[in-house]
């Protein structure tokens, strides 16, 4: 026997063994939950996800047919959300890392606001959307233009609400990637007579594209699955057409699932539809995360 191993007393060795066992079990549990979840939905909904399911409108009070308007609505929603939110988030991150004095009162307030925003329950964002976007901005725009299309829930106001909700995700990940650009690179640019803005545009941003893209995709992933925040600001349970303007109401995968499972006249009959819809939603989230990972590794290699 090895004399070194024997110097550790048995209770201590047992303790170490159990600690490792506990950690490993916890790790397996995480994988187990995910596999179990995906497995359940694959088995029950796998056959339900067909081309007709993806491309048809729901029929007969959401008890038959497909999810095409919900799929299209969700896509429009996250696209518009990205267009509205990512530029603002990126600009905020640039301000915080490149321009603000780190110990200034204003920069600290912005950081505090971002952190607080990240912890606000999503239903509160929904109520904020009603109060600020629909009643204040929408009614205001209608009054100004003499229209009547902005003062109600719509794709636009839902996207705006989700943009606010995902702002912290964008800001934090862009900030991280800006901070990762070496200080020397900035100094080299400034020493060549570049202004701060030129340095940011020509050196800092090209070096943090990865972070901006990752931030956007994470935000999209978060926004795509969010239901509570859009409950009052434009989502609808049934629609006979794909939205053709941002002021129209829209269907949404997550909300559709909620409708199928709680608001349907015959919940048992919609069970296969529920499984299939869940699978599509999971697949969409998985696809988005995969894209984020692929972009990141592709750019890191370059």
């Amino acid at each position: 026997m090895n004399s070194i191993a024997n110097t550790i007393p048995l209770p201590k060795r047992l303790l170490g063994f159990f600690a490792v066992l506990l950690a490993a079990t916890a790790a397996f549990a995480v994988v187990g939950v995910i596999l179990g979840m995906v497995g359940t939905f694959l088995m029950n909904g796998g056959t339900g996800v067909t081309w007709t399911f993806l491309s048809e409108f729901p029929r007969n009070n959401n008890t038959e047919g497909g999810i095409w308007p919900a799929l299209a609505g969700t896509t429009f929603l996250v696209l518009l959300m990205t267009i509205l939110g990512v530029p603002i988030g990126t600009a905020t991150a640039i301000y915080l890392t490149e321009f603000a004095r780190q110990d200034s009162w204003f920069a600290r307030s912005v950081r505090f606001a971002v952190n607080t925003l990240a912890g606000v329950p999503s239903i509160v964002f929904g109520l904020f959307g009603v109060g600020f976007f629909i009643q204040f901005m929408g009614t205001g725009i209608d009054g100004f233009l003499g229209t009547s299309s902005f003062g109600d829930g719509s794709l636009l106001w839902s996207s705006a609400t989700l943009a606010v909700l995902t702002l912290p995700v964008v800001i934090v990940s862009v900030e991280e990637s800006l901070k990762a650009v070496p200080r020397d690179l900035r100094e080299a640019s400034l020493a060549l007579g570049a202004t701060r803005l030129q340095t940011i545009v020509k050196v800092v941003l090209p070096n943090s594209v990865t972070g901006i893209l990752t931030g956007s995709i994470l935000a999209v992933g978060r926004g795509a699955g969010e239901v509570a925040a859009i409950l009052f600001v434009g989502v609808t349970y049934s629609s006979s057409s794909i939205p053709s303007a941002v002021t129209e109401k829209f269907m949404h995968l997550g909300y559709h699932l909620f409708v199928l499972s709680t608001q349907s006249p015959d919940v048992d009959k919609t069970l296969p539809l529920q499984f299939a819809t869940t699978l599509v939603l999971l697949g969409l989230t998985f696809l988005l995360n995969l894209t984020a990972i692929l972009i990141r590794s592709r750019l890191r290699k370059r």
Partner: protein, 256 residues
């Protein structure tokens, strides 16, 4: 102090520098002559790099720094409110300790400074790129792969690229902050040869940890210790008959 006949290019007078509440430079007064190599030596943290970075106001980027006294280039105080720091930096090239090319092509690295504020024709850029690379003794090694990434170059080549990048904007002064500290002896030798050639066209200020290097390439040497300029004189004088005891102790390796 320095008994040089060439006209003064950079002059510090009673120059103090503070990082927050910590004073890093104390009452520095010296004259750096035009088209000579001036070296600053001293132990780590003695303020020599801070002084160098004060000339083109690179320290402005650090929050909470403060200067008083005078720092003039061609008689103009660089800390004067009227001075535009971007214009100032276009007249003063800088080479850093770590050779850090932009993650762009060799060609784009050199044209970076030139194309910032004006449109320059491709033909003109080609001329500047070749001239700058020849000046930094890199042309023969990279002329066939100008559009490859600058990061594909070796460490020594990258540092010479950084020198080429700095001379491409045609500055009057070249500040070098320990340019050889990360290089092998052969690359160091090449950079030192380069310094000797460049001094005909530029006023070169060099910070170095390597006393032999200061001895080899500089005309004047200043010795910094704990934020003060202890002695500033012809390099030969500093290394053979320094007038201050601290300088002698440092030169002979008794500390630092």
């Amino acid at each position: 102090m320095a008994k040089e006949t060439s006209p003064t290019k950079i002059e510090a007078h009673g120059f103090n520098f503070h990082y927050g509440t910590k004073q890093a430079l104390f009452d520095i007064t010296l004259s750096i002559p035009d088209r000579k190599v001036t070296a600053f030596i001293g132990p780590s943290g003695c303020g020599k790099s801070t002084f160098l970075r004060s000339i083109n106001r690179m320290n402005d980027l650090i929050d909470g720094t403060r200067v008083d006294g005078h720092m003039t280039v061609d008689g103009t105080d660089v800390y004067d409110k009227e001075v535009d720091v971007v214009t100032l930096r276009r007249r003063i090239g800088m080479v850093f300790q770590k050779s850090i090319p932009f993650p762009k092509s060799i060609y784009e690295n050199i044209t970076y400074g030139l194309t910032l504020n004006e449109r320059v024709s491709k033909a003109e850029l080609d001329v500047v790129v070749e001239k700058s690379l020849r000046k930094s003794a890199l042309w023969e090694e990279v002329k066939d792969r100008l559009h490859n990434s600058a990061l594909s170059l070796s460490g020594g080549q990258q540092q010479r690229l950084c020198i080429a990048r700095a001379v491409a904007i045609n500055p009057e002064i070249l500040l070098m902050d320990e340019p050889c500290s990360a290089l092998d002896p052969i690359s160091t030798g090449k950079v030192e040869e380069l310094i000797a050639e460049l001094k005909d066209s530029y006023t070169i200020v060099l910070v170095t940890h390597n006393m032999q290097q200061a001895g080899r390439v500089s005309d004047l040497t200043g010795f910094f210790l704990m934020g003060s300029l202890i002695e500033f004189d012809r390099t030969r004088t500093i290394f053979t008959s320094p007038s201050k005891k601290e300088t002698e102790d440092y030169i002979t390796g008794r500390f630092g």
